[in-house]
Symmetry: C2
Subunit: 167 residues, 2 copies
Amino acid sequence: MKLSTKGRYAVTAMMDLALHDHTGPVTLADISNCQGISLSYLEQLFAKLRKEGLVEGVRGPGGGYRLGRPASQISIAEIIHAVDEAIDVTRCLGSKDCHGGEKCLTHQLWEDLSHRLYEFLDGLTLASFISRPGVREVSRRQDTTASRIATMFPPRTAFSAMVAQGR
Amino acid sequence: MKLSTKGRYAVTAMMDLALHDHTGPVTLADISNCQGISLSYLEQLFAKLRKEGLVEGVRGPGGGYRLGRPASQISIAEIIHAVDEAIDVTRCLGSKDCHGGEKCLTHQLWEDLSHRLYEFLDGLTLASFISRPGVREVSRRQDTTASRIATMFPPRTAFSAMVAQGR
DNA sequence: TACCATACCTACTAATCCAGTAAGGAATTA
DNA sequence: TAATTCCTTACTGGATTAGTAGGTATGGTA
């Protein structure tokens, strides 16, 4: 279990998808604009997320990405694991005899910790974050604003592009 | 809260110190040999740990490092925080208006997660790992072996040096 | 006292990873 | 057909990791 900026990008992007799950696919350009992450970098991250089935892409105009499963069935651990490949486990097993067991001991303690951490993050789902009080309200407000403008400029993207340009 | 190999090194090294807390200081050379981490790299890590008061150094022959506080008062979060400086928080506050609040929202959700993670790791102390069943036994066995040889070759270091050389 | 083991400090370096750039192809809708 | 979007690959500057090297300071021991 590793945790870096990369993992944060992936998690926040997934939260974005979860927030707009009922409004249809979200484009990477949107996320790129909204969260200030480069588009191509996002594409690389989403390639990994897609490989794990966490998201699914919809091509063509009006397309984008949506969650591969309900938000309640996607854990934070899965997301981080998909993009931040695991820390290399100590190469204790097999090589040498671990200097009389001591290395094995601390190694074992680390695995213990690592396991507890994973279980903790695996217990946290996307849904558990967006269902917090206050979140839905903000999200809904944004969606209604977007959909109001969307009736004039069909896809959600048009609105986001305007926002991105500061209009 | 960031988590990388660096943090793992620091945590396992601290576990090592905790395991031998009652046997006196542990030298970095010992840890280096036992866990396969370069000596100078360990020195850099321990400089940071010392700055935070997590360890204290004892100079001269027979010296080494020992815990700066009881193992029950040192949390995993503190150790990781000491060596793996925090991930840069999104520079959302102040700059621009966060594109209509959306960036602020996912940012806020991330902070929420980050906070929960920190609290989790802050609740885990070194003591909570070394007090697990089975750990003390192995540790004690190693210590008695060490001290038996130590009566012939005074400081603990002599034994470690032999082990390191594969004798 | 001289010597040695250890912490402690600073500067340098090779390798790796992060984050982004660039360029294009493939699928879908209008 | 044209526009939009996903999807893929290759390249790149910079940061970080992990290690090297070379010292100084301090304390125990012969």
